[in-house]
Each structure stands twice: as structure tokens, then as C-alpha cells.
Symmetry: C4
Subunit: 210 residues, 4 copies
């Protein structure tokens, strides 16, 4: 099978996930800037999840550019990843709603929704790793994809940091969120090696086609 329809379906699911979160943003309870200000934690939670889904789309996009064909196993590994990512809006909504409800009642913010957010990130990272393995297995250890992924330092550091964030949520919830934000920032820095590999490959493809 060609990769076209898998990419199109994944794009569709990710585009929907990244946008339906706005449907869950609670309208400010009033018509002044202060009411909007109370929504700031919710908006920041939305921003964090938007960035994470953007990173997954970005990495997914990059990875599939180095893939030629997909098997049935890849389709399911891909759906498995999409399943965990589909829980991002749910867990973001829970974390945000509890956060504003507790601060509105001047209670301490509960660590559990923040830790659960990290658990979903951890499982999504595991699913991405599994998809990458499945693809490399199909393409072969000497494939361009295997070369492009390389040592994958970021991919190995992320789960460790998610576990750290989950733990720190119990010290102070904002610390957990801070760790998740740091991981997101780490991924925002473009991965020059993959881009170089892909550029190479496209040049070769054009040479083959030309």
C-alpha cells in the first residue's frame, strides 16, 4: 500500500483533535477583561496541547516522508498512536476545568489531573516509538528512515522527562506542567539532521524520475 491515504487520514484526525479542543473552552463568565483573565489557565492548557499535537503532526509528517510503503501492521500502529492522541482533548479539559474550579474556590490545585496528562503524553510517546519501530522494521535497518531517526536522543529523553513531570505534579502541579512545557519547547527546535536526510532523498527521487 502507498502512504497517501494513511497520511490523509492521520492529517484529518490530527486536524480535528487540534481544533475541537476550542469547543471545550468555557466561555468567560462575564463581559470584562477580568472574566477573560480567569480563563487564562484554560487557554494556556489549550496552547500546550495545541503545541503537542502540532509536534506530533510535524514529526509524523517528517517520518512518513522517508517511508515508501505501508503494511497492515503499520495501519494499526498508526491507529494506536491516534487513539492515545485522541485522549489529549479529554485530559486537557479535565486538567483545565479542575484547575480553574479549585483556584476559584481557593483550594489547592489537585496533582492527579496534571499527572494523568503526563500519563497520556507518555503513552502517546510509547505509541509513536512503536510506530517508528514498525516502520523501520518494514523499511530495513539500512533504510533512509533508520538513518534519519538515528540515535533519536529527543525520543529517548521525552519519556524520562514525562515520568519526572508526573512525579513533580505531586510536589506542585505547576512544576509538572512546567516539565511538559520544557519537553514541548525541546521538540520545537527543528531537527536539522532529518531535514537534511529528507532533502537528500528528494533530490535522489527527482534524479530517478528525471
Amino acid at each position: 500500500m502507498r502512504t497517501g491515504r494513511v497520511e490523509a487520514f492521520s492529517d484529518g484526525v490530527l486536524a480535528i483533535l487540534i481544533t475541537i479542543m476550542v469547543l471545550e473552552l468555557p466561555k468567560p463568565a462575564g463581559a470584562d477583561w477580568r472574566a477573560l483573565g480567569h480563563d487564562v489557565p484554560v487557554l494556556l492548557g489549550y496552547l500546550l496541547s495545541f503545541v503537542y499535537l502540532g509536534i506530533y503532526w510535524n514529526n509524523h509528517h517528517h517520518m512518513f516522508q522517508a517511508v515508501r510503503r505501508v503494511s497492515g501492521g503499520v495501519l494499526w500502529a498508526n491507529l494506536h498512536l491516534l487513539f492515545w492522541l485522541s485522549l489529549v482533548p479529554f485530559i486537557t479539559g479535565w486538567m483545565s476545568e479542575e484547575w480553574i474550579a479549585e483556584t476559584a474556590h481557593r483550594e489547592a490545585v489537585s496533582p492527579v489531573p496534571v499527572a494523568a496528562y503526563g500519563v497520556v503524553l507518555l503513552l502517546a510517546a510509547g505509541a509513536y516509538f512503536l510506530l517508528q519501530r514498525t516502520l523501520i522494521h518494514a523499511e530495513g535497518p539500512r533504510s533512509r528512515l533508520a538513518a534519519a531517526v538515528g540515535r533519536d536522543v529527543k525520543g529517548k529523553a521525552s519519556p524520562v522527562l514525562y515520568v519526572l513531570g508526573i512525579g513533580l505534579s505531586y510536589v506542585a502541579p505547576w512544576l509538572g506542567v512546567l516539565v511538559y512545557a520544557v519537553v514541548a519547547a525541546m521538540w520545537l527546535i527543528p531537527d536539522r539532521r532529518v531535514e537534511r536526510q529528507v532533502a537528500h532523498r528528494e533530490d535522489e527521487l527527482q534524479t530517478e524520475e528525471g
Copy 2:
């Protein structure tokens, strides 16, 4: 007509169906793990429907790879399938909400929503069969599609099992759900014969194009 836009539209609808279900997941009523635990039946119901829609996307994808052209009749047979699949989020929501409401009130779980879930699966399976027939009719009995579909053991076993699941819902609702889960597991096993046929066809197409 080429198959491109039918596939794109179906991908779009299936991508939306598989993701909008998360909008219906009720936020846990509290900020601890126990509150999240109460949502487990809802999350399992979501998982089951996610897998079913994934299977339909997967099979739809496979089937259309063996199709060259579509007629007006195919468009409507396809929309008919999408209609029944579009009821999956609705019926999943009903089943899940009743399930947690009844267990929260320590009542017996009602069989009707579980049976109704099976009825929607049954009607979707019927619509898929109809679409397959329409396509084989158009492609001809000696077409690659007809060969790829073959005896279609799974396709014939599924409706029987759905009826069994509907019946067993009245014995115990969890038995009905178990049967639906078994059918889903049966479909998750990749269908090697179709993949082989498709691989053949792509090779031939490339030979023709080359």
C-alpha cells in the same frame, strides 16, 4: 468517476466520527484517580467504537485499492454505509451514559442500549456488504476485487455474531459487549489474502505504467 474524491470524503467522515466521540466523554466528577476510575466503562466503550471505526476505515481502504472507477450507485451505497457508521458515536454515548448512571445508582445495567449498539453494528455490516456487492457488480465477477474478497468468511461470520451478542445482552449486558469485542479482535488480525492480491495489482500497475 475516479475513486479519489470518494476515498477523500469517506476518510474525512471516518476521521471526524472516530474523533468527535471524545467530545462526548464525560469529564471525571472529581480530581482524583477514583473519579477517573468511574469513567473506565465509558473509556472502554470509546475504545471499542474507536477500534470498530478503525476496522471500517482499514477495510474500506483495502477494498477501494482494488477498485478502478465508481458510479453513482457506488456513491450512494458508500453514503449509506457512512450513515450507519455515523450513528456509532450516538449509540456509544447512550450505552456508556446509561451504564455509568445505572452502576452509580447500584441498579442492574439495562440490556437495551447494549443490544441497540449491536443493531447499529449489524446495519453497518449490512451496508458494507451492500457496498461490496455494488462494487463487485461494477467491476465484474472475474475482477481482482471479486478475487480479493473471495469467500469472505469474516464478513459472513460477523452478522451472526452480532445477532448472538444482541441476544446475550438480555442474559447479561457485559456478555453482549464481550461478543462485540471478540468480533473486533477477529478483524484486527490482518487479512493476508487481500494484501497479497493488492500487492500483485500494484506490481502490475507499475509494470503497465513503466
Copy 3:
């Protein structure tokens, strides 16, 4: 501009419209078949709108197959059509909710939401006609599109029937719905002439390309 991205965007919007209506289906108020039975008018309203949006996607698909290029004017005529179609879920929800609320209170069903549904259908039909005119104007009166559209009997009969349906809503709301259902049924019959024209054109294109 090529037609690819206009078609993709329209497919996306129509796929979303046709599926988000399920989010508005009210869950049955109870766990038995009777509770589901009370939802039947809502489900029929959903079915009617699903069929209408399916018809628009179908006709849109057919029409753009006979189009080679799009101008800025076409983009806006297309968005204009999508705007009126985007009100279908809104007006369907209003009609359905009032219908079941009024029958639940044993009141007479109000004609206004049914008439308003017809008004949206009428405006969407007008927008489709405008888009068709814009496209024919761009392609020229001797184009394949102009030939394919031809006398367009259905297109001219529909607005007249919508006005009839709007009027009959005031006699009895179910009469109005019946007229809308008849128009939908009329469109479900495949338009052989257009298909023949498109088949012609594809053959020619292939001859040109070959």
C-alpha cells in the same frame, strides 16, 4: 487556479457538516426501546439532512469533474454555498428539538421551524444555482459543463417545491417535511446525462494524455 484545493476544502466542510449533526442528537431519556422510540422524529430529521448534504456533495462532485480551472469569483460562490449548507445542522436541530418537545407536551407541532428548514434549503439551492452560473460563465456557453447541466429540470423544480413545502408547513408541519423528502428522493435518482458527459470527457482526457 486548479480545482484540487477547492474540492478538498468543500469535501472537508461537507464531511464535517454531515457528521457533526450526530453530536446534536439528544441521548434517549431512559434505557429502554420506548425511550429510543421517542427519538425517532429526531433521527428521521437527521436522516433527511444527511441525505440532503449527501446530495449536495454528490452534485458538487459531479459538477467540478467538468470544471478545469477556478477563479476568485468561483471561490466565493463556493463559500457562499457552504455558508447556507452550514446552517443545515442548526436548523435541523431546531426543528427536531421543537418537534419532540411539543409532542412530549401533547401540543400541536409548530410550523415555523419546518418552514425555516425549507427556507435554508431554498437559499442553499439558490447558492448552488449561482455557483453553477459562475462556473458556466467562466467555462463558456459551449463548454462540457454547460452541455452537462443542460436544461436542468431538477434544479428548476426544486425551488418551486421548497416554496410549496414552506407553504404546506402552515397547513400541517408533516406535509412540509413530506415535500422536502420527495425533493430529496427526486435527487437520489442518478442523473444519467451528466454521468455520460463526464465519461465522455474522461475518455477524451485520456486520449489527450495518452
Copy 4:
């Protein structure tokens, strides 16, 4: 990287944003024309945001037609634009709900949601400008894109008018909305220069390919 998947993802997000707003339209509180009439400010707010998102899709479409390749920086500049546009449904909902709640209670309409709407438009315009700069930087100052964008009078006038609209919201909220509507009308007029450039380029591409 080719532009295909960035365009597809952006189309997906914009198609979802433009349509999910209908889910937020409050159903009329009654079954007569007057009840529908009370929703008119909400429907006009929806129309305004629909037109704005349509304009962004339109301009995005035009701009990427003059682009050959995208880098990692472009992907993030594009996601940044989509983030601000994703807040349009949220801010439209807030503005509309406050507007009808206040007029229902015969209170003065509050300027803050109207001003906040302008702030989101301003930030989206800034993000679009940034994306345009990133693309021109990658394509080079003598590229077709740079030529097509040219002096970009509309792009420079819009932020000034948004600031004017934000200020006038405090004089009278409807004045702010009027300014936003004027900017939208200004963009609806097709930009002949870009279309001409694109037409040129397509002719050249065809000559190259031919």
C-alpha cells in the same frame, strides 16, 4: 518538503474551524419567527467569522500556490497562524452570547468582548504577516511570491483598522463590529494582481513540463 501536506492540514483545520461554529449557535428559545429573530445578532456574528475564515483560507490558498517548498520554520509559522485562527470560534461565541444576554436584559452591550474579537483578528493578521515573511525569506526577494505580494496595501491597512475597531468598541460596540465588517468587505474584492502572477506562473510551469 513539498507543500502538499501543509496545505491539506491547513485546509482541514480551516474547514473544521469554519463549521464547528454552528455547534455553538444557540437554538432559538421558542418555535416562532420572533425566537429566530432574537438569534439574528448571533447569526450575524457567525457570518462575520465565517467570512473572515473564508478570507484566510482564500489568501492562504493563493499564497501557497506561489510556494515551491516548505522548511521546518514554515510549518511552525503556519501552526502559529492556525492557533490564532482557532480562537475565532471561541471569541465569536463569547461576543455573541454576551451580546444577546445583555440586550435580552436591556443592558448596554459591553465593549470588552467586541474589543477582544478585534485583538484576535489583530494577532491572526500578525501571524499571517510572519508566515508571509518566512515564506518570502525562503523563496528569495526576487521570487514570484515576493513579486506577487508586492506592496501589500491591504495587509498593511488591516492591522491599523483592527486597532481602530478595538478603540471604537469603547465608543459603541456596534461601531467596532462595523469596522471589522468593512475590513472583511475590503478583502472580499479579489486581488487581481496576485491572480495574474499565479496565472503567469502556471503557464510557465506548464511550458517547463510540456
